[in-house]
């Protein structure tokens, strides 16, 4: 998934404009998101890419770069 595609997906789920959000910015803090919206964003990535973030590390995916790193490390389709 490209950076642009991730931005678009997270924007759709959160209803927020992510076009100026830095790749290393904490999404919950910079967008003032509630924890459930944060979970919904990760769920959307999982669904789109058919992958699964580790249940015990969900809190560690706080920035777009962290999500992208996981996506590109995970070999599942």
């Amino acid at each position: 998934m490209s950076e642009e595609a991730l931005r678009k997906l997270l924007s759709t789920v959160s209803g927020r404009d992510l076009s100026h959000t830095g790749l290393d910015e904490d999404l919950k803090e910079s967008l003032d998101l509630d924890s459930l919206t944060g979970l919904r964003m990760l769920a959307a990535v999982e669904k789109q890419l058919n992958l699964r973030f580790p249940d015990d590390k969900l809190d560690s995916f706080r920035t777009m770069n962290q999500i992208l790193e996981f996506i590109h490390r995970d070999p599942s389709p």
Binding site: T37, R40, A43
Partner: protein
Amino acid sequence: MKIGLIAMSGVRVRSPELAELGVTLPQFVSRGKVIASLPSLGLLTVAALTPDDVEVAYREIGEVDPEAELEPFDLVGISSFTAQIDEAYALADRYRKAGVPVVLGGLHVSLMPEEAAQHADAIVVNGAEGAWPRLVEDFKNNRMQARYDGLRADVFKAPNYVKPKFELLRGRPYNRLTVQTSRGCPLRCEFCAASIRITSGFQQKPVDVAVEEIESALEVTDHAFFELADDNTFINKKWGKEFLRAIIPLGITWFTETDISVAEDEELLELLARSGCRQILVGLESPSGEDLDGIDPGNWKRKRCDQYLELVDRTQSAGIAVNGCFILGLDNHTRDTFPRVKEFVDKSGLLEVQITVQTPFPGTPLYDRLKLEGRLLQERFWDRCTLFDVNFRPKNMTVEQLEEGVRWLFKEIYNENEFNKRRRHYMEIVKSQIQ
């Protein structure tokens, strides 16, 4: 003239074992932080009821340094719940000693007016509507009385209604704002110590008024999450649907407290999801109907109990997470109740769970009954009205067994592994809804 309005806030636990345990449990900590960081809607309403020629400052107790010099005001108003009331009295005593008159109000003061009057120059009983404007006028004219009784009815009708002064929150770091759409709840559970105690019946704001309040609150924040400060928002389903349709265009996300009957109405559930409702907090109280016998006069909860699992599932499948609340120490509870609660939580897939101890708040029917039965452990225990400390003798177990059972449930339900399992269940529901 400047009036300082001070809100007591925060979650407190007196039992050292539970306090120690609590800070290590992820879900307990996160909900505690949320509650501690909510603004005081009551004092924002008091501010709005204050005449325009009087300056008002809104403060929260965390901003009042107990060691520092008191901030200078001509009059101080303090609002507090029961668990923090002794801290509120201490602050009131300090101000009065410094020559600043103090007014006390809020739920505890309304239920224990004689006690509160010992620490105040004036008290406000019930809501501030119908009382505060008179009080300020009297204060200006040096004739402030010792007690002002606010209205118990028609508080949302002209000329009594005012929109809370949300602009006082501008620039403050809240991630949740509160708006109240109703006061009271017709279920009248025996233990309830919420706004039901200061209102003569269920009162609901007209939809346009409630929506206008949300719009006003939105002006002071960019992306707030809203928490409806109601006892039971969706008692009236027709009102509920109208309200939800009206807030869909606002694009907010929000949370409220209501009863499980929302799940009996498919259209309501669909509107809840579309309007940005992320979670509802529901008082399930106990997993078995027999346990619930008599907790509300109409046995409403007992009648619904057999459907709890199905109704929770229906709500969460619509994309609305449920925070299921259980009260431990009901008269029909035994030591077997604790594993049954755990079993229910596991089966239900509840995203969040709130475990509390039945608490006889002064002024409630529960308090009166337990006092009459000689089952209160102390005469005065307000600082232990935390929802986590045991203040009465349970009927079918000992105090120690109840405390031990609650600690066991805390460990079983709030640990990292269980928390992760519930989160995963919620994520799978969300994924199943994505096209």
